[in-house]
């Protein structure tokens, strides 16, 4: 079966397709690859039902997750497949606009997408405009993308309304990740979506970067495919900064698919798999990521803005040895209180990540002594 990155760079003209195509998506059980893993067919149906020729398709190539590279890679190397998916969405959903929402720093991806667009002759090409997504973590969230495209502010908004009810131009809107759209492109071309997932390997592996994992591939397989670990890892970060730290011996067995990981209480998120080397300090590493996530709060909701800052500060105090001894119990209380209390899932993701750190690095957090942070990276 054809895989995404092995697919021809360009196929012939797009096949005709109508509403029945959504059934094909449903049968393929494709889920979104932007992080949430939401069933694609459900999303398309919701937009199709309300479109009336007004729908908007947002091609989400914001890729704000710092360690992730797979969306850029797809846009750069398979831009026609992404456009295939976008044009099919426009056709099936009777869209009036297609917007390429591409991270402002992803220059190579943007120029590849524009070059591909210039080579297309389908009528959907005329619907396309391009927008540069701000280089912020939350800019890729659906409601933030819509907010940016409507008002120039890439911060999440309160739901309802949900995008399929009222999105760009107040019209029913589909926001879909570029890898997902490329999968849709292949599904339309070949009658079958490749059973693969793009993952980005980061940290202590021989070759960091993007890997296309077949269905059933485990974390161990993927790491082996990347040349193996550079040294014995202390933990594996599954799912990026909104994911979870997992003990290596548990992580190796995990298959890289959304459904199975969800049954383990984990998530593939945007597909980042990061290996923390044993010589690095898990507490300092966690504190650094928490500081990043706190700074990336869009500062709209109190529990996120103040809560994540407090969580990051407490982690930093434990990390630099200035804690009053109560920070660990504060952290344990706050991770129960903060989730579910933001307009978007930013605080939830950050807390999920921190909870996994408190669990997996239980000993390290309890016994942490300050050390020179420069030696830990």
């Amino acid at each position: 079966m054809t895989r995404l990155l092995d697919a021809p760079e360009r196929f012939g003209p797009l096949p005709q397709m109508g509403g029945g195509f959504i059934d094909a998506i449903e049968q393929s059980r494709l889920v979104g690859r932007g992080g949430a893993g939401f069933p694609v067919a459900t999303k398309w149906r919701a937009v199709a039902k309300r479109s009336g020729g007004r729908a908007v398709v947002v091609v989400n190539g914001a890729e704000g997750e710092p360690r992730s590279q797979k969306d850029r890679l797809v846009m750069t190397w398979r831009p026609h497949l992404v456009l295939d998916g976008a044009f099919i969405a426009a056709r099936v959903l009777h869209a009036r606009r297609v917007i390429l929402y591409i991270g402002e720093r992803h220059e190579k991806a943007r120029s590849a997408m524009l070059r591909a667009l210039g080579e297309r002759t389908e009528p959907e090409g005329a619907l396309v405009t391009v927008a540069a997504a701000p280089a912020r973590y939350v800019a890729g969230a659906e409601s933030a993308a819509i907010h940016f495209l409507n008002d120039g502010v890439a911060t999440p908004t309160t739901a309802p309304p949900l995008p399929f009810e009222q999105g760009v131009d107040r019209a029913p809107t589909l926001v879909q990740n570029v890898e997902t759209l490329a999968q849709i492109g292949l599904l339309a071309r070949l009658g079958q979506a490749p059973a693969t997932t793009l993952v980005t390997l980061a940290g202590a592996v021989m070759r960091t970067g993007v890997l296309e994992a077949d269905r059933g591939t485990t974390v161990a397989d993927a790491v082996r495919g990347a040349g193996g670990p550079t040294e014995s890892p202390r933990a594996v970060l599954v799912g990026g900064y909104f994911g979870s730290w997992v003990e290596p011996e548990v992580a190796w067995q995990l298959p890289l698919d959304h459904e199975t990981l969800r049954r383990h209480g984990l998530g593939l998120g945007c597909g980042v798999i990061g290996l923390l080397p044993a010589r690095a300090c898990p507490v300092c590493e966690t504190a650094g990521i928490m500081r990043y996530l706190a700074a990336e709060s869009s500062a709209q909701c109190g529990p996120c803005f103040f809560g994540l800052r407090a969580l990051a500060d407490a982690c930093s105090r434990i990390s630099d040895g200035s804690s009053d001894g109560n920070d660990l119990s504060r952290l344990r209380r706050w991770v129960d209180e903060v989730p579910g209390r933001g307009a978007c899932r930013h605080p939830d993701g950050a807390v999920l990540f921190l909870s996994s750190a408190l669990r997996v690095f239980d000993r390290e957090f309890a016994n942490h002594r300050a050390h020179d942070m420069r030696r830990t990276a």
Binding site: A46, T158, Q300, C301, G302, P303, C304, G307, R341
Partner: protein, 72 residues
Amino acid sequence: MSDQLKLVVDRIKCDGRGLCAELLPELIRLDDWGYPIVDSGNVPKHLLPLAQRAVEDCPVLAVTLRRAEVKR
């Protein structure tokens, strides 16, 4: 369709004045930064009048009473 009501806070509007928690401590408490933590269950009938007041008296109109949500 249920006629059960839940308290919902618009987290973007809310700026932590804390009035809701004063009116309805049975269902709302404040976190360490002064923002409401709301009981996720349905509002019991005998507390509905107070919940209604929390909705009306919120200075930034961030609190609403909503029917149990229907998903797409």
